[in-house]
Amino acid sequence: MKRFPKVMGVVLTAAMLLAGCGGAKKEAAPPAGNTTTPAPTTQAKAWAPEKPVTMIVPYSAGGSTDVLARVVEKVWSKYVNQPLTVVNKPGASGWEGRDSVAKAKADGYTMFMGYGSGEDLIAPQLRTATFDPIKDFTPISLLSAHSVLFVVPAESPYKSMQELMAAAKTKPINAALSGVGNLMDISVRALAKAAGAEITGVPFAGGGPATTAMVGNQVDIGPGHPSELMPHVKGGRLRILATATPERDPSLPDVPTLKELGINFTNPGSLKGVAMPKGTPAEIVKFYEDTFKKISEDPDFKKGMADAFQPVIYKNSAEFGTLIKSTFDNYTQMIKDLNITVK
């Protein structure tokens, strides 16, 4: 019974803030039935979760986003007193999980990993989605970004991106894609357009089969994330020609950016951030952005991420929100410029 008042306080705070965000912003109006209790003193005691927190991974277990969530889970207990439950909701290529978070209560107990991955920013601009990728979520923090690398099979005659692009003007060049209308598809189209070449994208059923096609020398080139490609680069079966990031990747100092090669296309990669439902109270956002900051500096977390070939890139809620918005707008522009439709 001792915990009861505290729980009540949190519930009421959340309810008040929810009510505040829901419709007309009447900050002063307390929820009905709250006349006798004094207003909870939120400043006195910072918010902290009082029951297990759910992190939804909108992809299947074992994928790179899942791995990131599991590395977080590994160190979570050092910083938060309540356990973290990772739930995989893979349906509808990542939409199912996002949709469930968009419709969840903004009470600080439901979040999802993988905000900014790409299909959540690109696909809703191509097809009608049940959630709004910007308005339905509160960005919490960025933890990582998976850049887009361009690789060729080890047997490939092309030693550099320029050689390949020159060849693409006279010969048919195929690229293995992890899907259609996603970050990889857009990246290959943008690369071809910027280099004035023609590349045919061959979509496969996900990153795994696309990588297999690259490793098996079935295609001329492929875009992919480091976590998928690096095991094969290390194994001598793939060669990296360039990265689409604006700056060189610190972990791959020898890999040139497309920009350096005179190809005018940059992309921040697949952003791997945490988001909560829209209208999540500021103190809850504060709690989690601080928690993720600590997690991003944890040595075990850093090691786990390095082992999984994922960089640690922390951004707080505000910075992450700005990045998401600019990336979203950038995709809007690209979809227009490249004339991409699926209808």
């Binding site: 899942d66 599991r70 349906g91 496969f204 795994g208």
Partner: protein, 495 residues
């Protein structure tokens, strides 16, 4: 004989108390989830991942997870035989003759032969993994879209053999399977097909849900009509172990199934189903009594069950030698390794010989454990048939619903399950053999995607299928199979 030395070192690791314990736990858990309808190895491994990521040793982790995976292949046949409830794609074939055997009071023999076949196939698979893994993996990499197209074409012809007595009903079922498979996001153009604006249908139907609905629930719904099945014993039990003549009929089927399953299982593009399908078709062709297939032929259980176990072992080859996960369970083992700082791939065997050889050796041990675990359990499982239907039916429905929900965390999928249960019921009601449906469901997207990918690669030229030697050979096999069927038909008409 580097492999032998490696294997000896591997046994040194696998026989350590901790690793032995986890191999056993994995095998035990795998058997259990294989038996429970709905909970597949992929779902179980994903539930266990948080625990597993905390385990210190990467060797022990993989020994444990691998045990769950191949253990579930042993257990998977149990519900296929007893309840007509296939747990995964590869054991759909087992239901055809296995369930018939159970109906005739030969469940014990079917379960025993499945366990023995699985043991032999598993062991043959591990021997293959020990000695010829790297060259086989290289061969698998030569399979691009054109090769998959030609291979799947062969598979589809084999699926027609499953259609039972009525060819027209068989073709209708096949067509239904293909239509169901096309629901969802078209992977080549990104367009939505037959989703009717439902987000739940956007990723299409899940195979396990479909198979459990059409086979398991369909059977239960159908039984509800048979008033005499209420509260009575569903089947006689009969003797538990195979007779000498059973063994004679099964031994070559087991060996052929093992080899076929192993070879096709190495392919990252879903070899397991093709292996068991090919095995079934071959046994039917070679059998002196092909008419018994579909009515309880023991070779029709022994062959495919061996094939799917050999394939499950073979699927570790692309993982351990190339770093390519070939299915969702293996993908999770891949992630578990990555998170512990071990990169699966060509260097694994050099950089982490203890993982490669420890796991390989543990598979020999695990297979023996599974045989010892499963044979005595046969007696226990067949007792399930004594459970009155009015208890067993609802329990199975409940377990299936829980299983489906626990893997997707989505209530919509439960409705999908029930929907397929109704389709399965109607199919039984109107005497449609359900066998070809799941096969078409698995093979149709493979054919569709691979042919479109191939034509994208060749800018529309069909030559891509005959210019590539493996694809051309497979198309030759396809042509021979079709022509022999046509000649047979002509000859029988002349008579």
């Amino acid at each position: 004989m580097e492999s032998l030395q490696g294997l000896i070192d591997g046994f040194g690791i696998a026989l350590g108390a901790n690793n032995l314990l986890f191999a056993f736990l994995g095998a035990l858990l795998g058997t259990a989830i294989g038996v429970l309808p709905g909970l597949g190895p992929a779902g179980t491994i994903s539930l266990l991942l948080p625990v597993v990521y905390q385990m210190g040793s990467s060797t022990t982790t993989v020994i444990f997870l691998a045990g769950i995976y191949y253990g579930s292949m042993y257990g998977g046949s149990t519900t296929s035989i007893l309840l007509n409830l296939p747990g995964e794609a590869a054991s759909v074939i087992t239901t055809l003759d296995g369930y018939q055997m159970a109906q005739k009071g030969r469940a014990g023999a079917a379960l025993s032969i499945a366990a023995i076949g699985s043991f032999i196939a598993g062991t043959i698979g591990v021997i293959g993994l020990t000695f010829i893994a790297p060259p086989l993996a290289e061969f698998a990499l030569d399979f691009g879209p054109p090769e998959y197209f030609s291979l799947t074409l062969v598979g589809l012809v084999l699926a027609v053999f499953l259609s039972g007595s009525s060819v027209s009903k068989g073709l209708l079922t096949l067509a239904l399977g293909m239509i169901l498979a096309s629901v969802g996001l078209d992977p080549i153009t990104g367009k939505l097909r037959f989703t009717f604006a439902s987000v739940g249908l956007q990723s299409g139907f899940d195979f396990t849900t479909l198979a459990m609905g059409i086979f398991g629930l369909g059977e239960i719904f159908y039984n509800l009509e048979q008033t005499d099945a209420m509260g009575t014993v569903t089947a006689k039990i009969g003797r538990l172990f195979p007779t000498a003549s059973d063994w004679v009929q099964s031994r070559w089927a087991i060996l052929r199934g093992s080899v076929m399953g192993f070879v096709v299982g190495v392919l990252p593009g879903g070899g397991g189903v093709l292996g068991s399908l090919a095995s079934y078709a071959v046994e039917q062709k070679l059998s002196k009594h092909p008419e018994e297939f579909g009515k309880g032929a023991i070779a029709g259980v022994a062959g495919p069950e061996s094939a799917n176990n050999a394939a499950s072992t073979a699927s570790f080859i692309p993982l351990l030698t190339l770093g390519i996960p070939s299915n969702s369970s293996i993908a999770m083992i891949f992630a578990a390794l990555l998170i512990q700082g071990v990169t699966p791939g060509p260097f694994l065997i050099v950089e982490h010989p203890e993982v490669f050889w420890g796991v390989t050796a543990s598979m020999y041990i695990g297979n023996v454990m599974l045989l010892i675990l499963n044979l005595p359990l046969v007696g226990l499982w067949v007792q399930l048939l004594k459970v009155p239907f009015n208890i067993l039916g609802p329990v199975v429905v409940l377990l299936t619903v829980i299983g489906v929900y626990s893997t997707s965390n989505d209530i919509f999928q439960v409705f999908v399950l029930i929907f397929f249960g109704v389709i399965g019921y109607l199919m039984r009601k109107f005497r449609f053999e359900p066998g070809p449906l799941p096969m078409a469901f698995v093979l149709a997207p493979m054919i569709e995607n691979s042919v479109r990918q191939s034509l994208l690669m060749s800018r529309g030229s069909l030559n891509i299928f005959i210019d590539r030697p493996i694809s051309a050979t497979l198309l030759g096999v396809f042509a021979i199979m079709v022509l022999t069927q046509v000649f047979k038909a002509i000859r029988s008409r002349k008579r």
